[in-house]
Every structure is written in structure tokens, then in C-alpha cells.
């Protein structure tokens, strides 16, 4: 005992953060900031692939049967592969790595005031597994038979038998990549949770932690608690594919519905896994740019707990008409509609935060407010789908598609841009160009609505998802509906073109932008108290925390912000 404690004590004194060689700084880093950026850049590259896929299949829908410029002809099998991998990439390889792993890695140690993650090498390992998973997924597009095309939910028996899916190795590599990605995030997640639980700066109480950190950690806990059964399910599916077992095959005694339950038991909490980090980031951004304390910090936190808890008991609303017992559906309707209560309360608190503020519409603030507005539409349309009877009409229609793009697009893309533009000065030590930033915002936000608002109406008209050519259905092949499809597609093209503005702004600002001061936005949290970009080891002397993260415009103070680590007089 005594000897061991002595060893621990010796360890803690041994650390000094020297500058590292290029190899250890950028290729095999243990520094959480570099690992975080690796995640973000990998995620952005995957986002480009996912965006390219969406371009290809939207063009096919608007101009069926024609050769898509920069892609080629999209046949039915290829269309399935494109939509499947668009969904998979955007959720597992963009939303999760950028928002949770990327910003989680970058922000958690900075915001809670410590020098690194508690397990830096585990952190590196989890990124490397993630990278391998991304490469496996990309490899799956090029094997014989092409990439997997059974939709991102990969319902068996379609996904479990090559005879049905016609993508023998595509399906196996797909499930392998997804499973690897889960393992990577499990390892990363353990790191995040233990870091936040154990390594907070002295004085930082539970209620002083910035909402962004809280929400990332809650998201990770949700992920850990929901993904286990699906990892087991992935093992079972893989064995069905490769060894010929029949866990999900009715003729061998299995049940295809089992996969649906396993998948959605993970899949619904997953929605909140990606939502919460963005909600947290947005909380930080709107408080800074409205110079307001967050309205009801505790309320917001408790609603997040409630949402997280409820998210485990709503999963079957994805299966209302998928063959589950109709009596069970009633239970899930109740829980599903109930989940609107904490989320509505959270939304009300965010909007109430703006009340009486001093709002400055800088680019990050525009993104954050854009998120609130767009997510509001995504949220309210969810009520339709939570009602089982309406789900009879809307299930797997474009209404569902429009609904979840109104949640996932704000979460993933808008949230990501809010975070990138907000923390860009801290990451690279330069400011981004405001004008270009605003052009990019409007050039993304307006086309985004033009893409997905019309899709609600296509859903009302009875158009189903995952169909590669609606000309085959006379009721849907009318010129009016086709015009809507063409409009949505053209909006997508416009939006994709405007992303070039961001890429230009991002790289030019990274090298040529105006030098950023330590605290360009006059924010309170700890990461703004150190130089931009922070050195290896973050803090010269580790900070002590004296107050909560949102003490803006405190009466009786000359400055309208009050850094968390500023000692009281």
C-alpha cells in the first residue's frame, strides 16, 4: 500500500511537457488537442464523401436515368449503396467523430482545466481504431458486388444473406467497420467520462462545468449504455453473413425483428448522443454572444438527464408498423410523446436565455441561432411521427426523411460550423473572416431549408424513401412533384457550392488570418484564459476555479464577463 502510493506520487511529479518531434506531435500524438483535430479533419473528409454521395443520388432523383456529371450513371444497386453509405457516413463518421470525439477531445481538458486526457495513449489508440474503421468502410465500396446497399439500418435477412443483398463482402465490411467504430468510441468514451469525473480543476464543482462538457459526457454515457447490445448484435449479424448461422433467419429459428430491436435500442439514444453535444456547444455560443447567463443552468441539465433516460424507452417507435405487436406500440407512443416535454423545456430555456441579452450576430452566433430555428422545425415534426396512427402513413416516407434531416442537419452540419467558427481562434490562433463566414452561413442555411422543406410535401404526397426512380409510380410521376424534386436537388447543388467559401475561408484564415488574442469573444470558460493556440500541456500553472461558467453581465462589475479562474478580490 505505502509503496504503491509512493509510486503514484512519484508519477505525478514526473510530468513536464516538452516540445515533441513532428512524428510524435502530429502522426502519433498523445496531445488531446492534436487528436481532437485529427478526428475533426477525418470527419470533414468523410463529410465531403457523404456530401458527394448525396449529390449523386439527388441528381438521379431529379433527372432520372441521366448521367450525373462528375459521377456517372446511377443504377438501382448503386443508388442503394449511395443512400446507405450516405446515412452511415454522416451519422457514424461525421456527426460522432466531429461533435463528440473531435470537440470532446479538444474541449474537455481545456474546459475543466487539466493538461490532457487521463489516458492519452488510450486516446490515440481510439483514434487509430476509428481511422481503420473509416478505411474499412471506404474499402467496402470497391469490393466485388459493390458497397452495402441495405440502408443504414441494415435490416436482416437482407443484410445477413449475400443471396438477398447481392453484396457479399460489401455487407460484411460494412458491419465490420461499424463495429470497429463503436469499439473506438467506447474506448474514447471511457476516457472522456473518467477525465471529467476525476480530473476537474480544483474548485470546479459539478455545477460549474460548462454545459458543453456536461452534454458531451452525458452523450457518451448514453452511447456506452446503448451500444453494447448492438455490438453483440453486430457479432451475430457478422456470423450470419460469414459462418451461416441463423440468428436473424426465420427458417433457422431466428427472428429478423430481433435485429430491429437491437438496432433501435441503440439507434434512438444515438439521436440524443449526437444532439446533446451540439446543444451544449450552442449553449456556450449563445451565452457568449448575448452576454447572458444561461437561463436555468440546473433546469437545462436536468432536462438533458430526463431526455437521456427517456431515450432508452422509446426505441420501438421506429418499428410501429414493422411487424411488432400493435399493443406494444401504444406504450411506446406514450413514452415517445413524453420525450417532447424535457426537450421543449430545454428549448424554452435556450430561448429565454436570449431575453434581455445584448445579442451580437457574429458568425458563430448566426450558426447557433440557425440551429435553434431549424431544430425547432425538426423537433415539432417529430410529434407527427411519434403518433403511431400517423406513422402508418408516414413511416419510411419522405416526411420521415425530411424530419430527421431537419434534426440531423442542424445537429451535424450547423452545430459543427457553430463550433468550428467559435473555437477556430483557439485552435489555430487566427481569426476567421467574418464577411466570408456570413456569406457561407446564409449560403448554407437558405438552401438547406429549400432542400428539406419541400420534401415534407413529397412525404405528404405518399412518396417513399429509398426508391431510385419515381417515374415508375404513376401517382408520383406528375410534373408538379418532379418539379419539387428538381428544386430540392438544385438547392443541394447551391449549398454544396457555398461550402467552397468555407473551405477557402478555413484554410486562408488558418495561415493568413488576423492573429487571435487569448480571449477574442470575452468568454468565461477556462480555455480562453490561455494563449491561442494552447501549448502542449495547456496551462502553465493549472487553474483554480471560483465560479460557474456563465457569469456574464454580473451587476456591479465593470467587465461584462467574469472568467471562471479569476480569483475573487
Amino acid at each position: 500500500m505505502s509503496q504503491a502510493t509512493a509510486a503514484v506520487k512519484k508519477d505525478s511529479q514526473a510530468e513536464h511537457h516538452e516540445e515533441l518531434s513532428f512524428l510524435y506531435k502530429y502522426i502519433l500524438p498523445v496531445d488531446h488537442k492534436i487528436i481532437g483535430m485529427q478526428y475533426i479533419f477525418t470527419g470533414l473528409i468523410m463529410a465531403i464523401i457523404g456530401g458527394y454521395f448525396s449529390y449523386a443520388f439527388r441528381m438521379q432523383l431529379a433527372f432520372p436515368g441521366e448521367v450525373v456529371p462528375l459521377y456517372g450513371l446511377v443504377g438501382p444497386g448503386e443508388y442503394n449503396m449511395l443512400i446507405t453509405n450516405h446515412g452511415t457516413i454522416m451519422i457514424f463518421w461525421v456527426a460522432m467523430p466531429v461533435l463528440i470525439a473531435g470537440f470532446g477531445n479538444y474541449l474537455i481538458p481545456l474546459m475543466i482545466g487539466c493538461d490532457d486526457m487521463v489516458f492519452p495513449r488510450l486516446n490515440r489508440l481510439s483514434y487509430q481504431i476509428f481511422l481503420v474503421s473509416a478505411l474499412v468502410l471506404i474499402a467496402s465500396f470497391f469490393v466485388t458486388g459493390g458497397g452495402f446497399g441495405g440502408a443504414w439500418t441494415s435490416y436482416p435477412p437482407l443484410s445477413s444473406n449475400a443471396e438477398y443483398s447481392l453484396t457479399d463482402w460489401g455487407a460484411s465490411l460494412w458491419i465490420l467497420a461499424v463495429a470497429l467504430e463503436f469499439v473506438s468510441f467506447l474506448l474514447g468514451g471511457i476516457n472522456f467520462i473518467t477525465t471529467t469525473m476525476n480530473a476537474r480543476a480544483p474548485g470546479m464543482k459539478m455545477m460549474d462545468i460548462p454545459i458543453a462538457v456536461w452534454f458531451i459526457v452525458i452523450a457518451v454515457i448514453l452511447f456506452m449504455a446503448s451500444v453494447g447490445p448492438l455490438i453483440a448484435g453486430a457479432v451475430m449479424l457478422f456470423m450470419d453473413q460469414r459462418l451461416g448461422t441463423s440468428f436473424f433467419l426465420p427458417s433457422g429459428g431466428g427472428d429478423p425483428l430481433l435485429w430491429q430491436h437491437l438496432f433501435w435500442f441503440f439507434g434512438h439514444p444515438e439521436v440524443y448522443v449526437v444532439l446533446l453535444p451540439t446543444m451544449g456547444i450552442v449553449a456556450d455560443v449563445i451565452t457568449v454572444f448575448s452576454r447572458k447567463k444561461l437561463f436555468g443552468y440546473r433546469t437545462v441539465l436536468y432536462t438533458a438527464f430526463a431526455t437521456g433516460g427517456l431515450s432508452f424507452v422509446v426505441w420501438a417507435h421506429h418499428q410501429f408498423i414493422a411487424g411488432i405487436d400493435p399493443r406494444v406500440a401504444n406504450v411506446f407512443v406514450v413514452t415517445t410523446v413524453l420525450i417532447s416535454i424535457p426537450l421543449a423545456e430545454m428549448m424554452f430555456s435556450y430561448i429565454a436565455t436570449l431575453y434581455g441579452g445584448s445579442i451580437e450576430l457574429k458568425t458563430p452566433m448566426l450558426w447557433a441561432l440557425g440551429f435553434l430555428a431549424a431544430f425547432l422545425i425538426g423537433g415539432v415534426t417529430g410529434i407527427y411521427l411519434g403518433a403511431s396512427a400517423l406513422d402508418i402513413y408516414f413511416h419510411d416516407s419522405y416526411f420521415v426523411l425530411a424530419h430527421f434531416h431537419y434534426t440531423f442537419f442542424p445537429i451535424t452540419i450547423i452545430g459543427m460550423f457553430a463550433a468550428l467558427t467559435f473555437w477556430f481562434p483557439k485552435m489555430f490562433g487566427r481569426m476567421m473572416n467574418e464577411t466570408l463566414g456570413k456569406i457561407h452561413f446564409w449560403g448554407t442555411f437558405i438552401p438547406f431549408n429549400c432542400i428539406f422543406l419541400p420534401l415534407f410535401f413529397l412525404g405528404l404526397a405518399g412518396q417513399n424513401r429509398r426508391v431510385y426512380n419515381f417515374q415508375l409510380y404513376p401517382d408520383l410521376a406528375t410534373q408538379d412533384l418532379q418539379n419539387i424534386r428538381i428544386f430540392a436537388t438544385l438547392s443541394l447543388v447551391v449549398m454544396l457550392i457555398f461550402q467552397l467559401v468555407f473551405i477557402y475561408n478555413f484554410f486562408v484564415s488558418m495561415f493568413k488570418g488576423e492573429k487571435a488574442p487569448n480571449n477574442p469573444w470575452n468568454a468565461n470558460t477556462l480555455e480562453w484564459s490561455i494563449p491561442s493556440p494552447p501549448p502542449h500541456g495547456n496551462f502553465k500553472t493549472l487553474p483554480t476555479v471560483y465560479r460557474g461558467a456563465y457569469e456574464y453581465s454580473v451587476p456591479g462589475r465593470e467587465l461584462d464577463y467574469w472568467p471562471q479562474n479569476e480569483a475573487p478580490k
Binding site: S226, H261, D325, V328
Partner: protein, 109 residues
Amino acid sequence: MSDAHTHPNYIKIWYWLLVLLAISVVGPMFEIPALTIITAFGIAIVKSYLVAAYFMHLKFEKAIIWFLLTLSIILLGVFFFGTAPDLMMTEGDQWIDCIADKSCVEQRL
């Protein structure tokens, strides 16, 4: 390292575990289903409690770890009961498992 607490007598716990193992092996020999379930799973729970509480020092651990482990078991229970109506029955409200009663169309499997 574990904090200052007196060690339980590990050998004694081990003896108990072996006794329980013997019971769980002997139990099914009476071929009474109820007794089998009790000796098999009841004893498994007692054994796992002994291992967790004494060998894993859970008895001396902070409440949060208990909370964590209990929560994970509860969530698995939620999953079980949400899934059971579909998987544990061969017929329900407006559906029947037609493999079981061979009424299905011939499967192309």
C-alpha cells in the same frame, strides 16, 4: 490502489464459492424444473454477489459504482421487456409465427 480497509478473508469466500458451485451442480440431478432454476440461477446470483462484493471490493467501493452497475442491469431489463412481446411469443395481436405452425408460404431460404 484500494484505500484503507481490512481485507476480507479471501480463502473463506473461495470455500463458500466452491460449496455453492457444488450445490448448483447437484441441484438439477433431482430433475425438478423449479429446483433447477433456483439452484442454477439463484446460486449464480449469490456467487456473483460474493465475487463482486469481496473479490472486486465492490463492498468497499463508492456508491456511484453501485449506481452504475445497477443502472446497466436495469437498462438490460428494459430491453428485455420491450422486446419480449415480439420474440417470446408465437402469436400476438394480428400476427402469428407461421414457421411454427407451418402455415407459411414456402420459404425461398
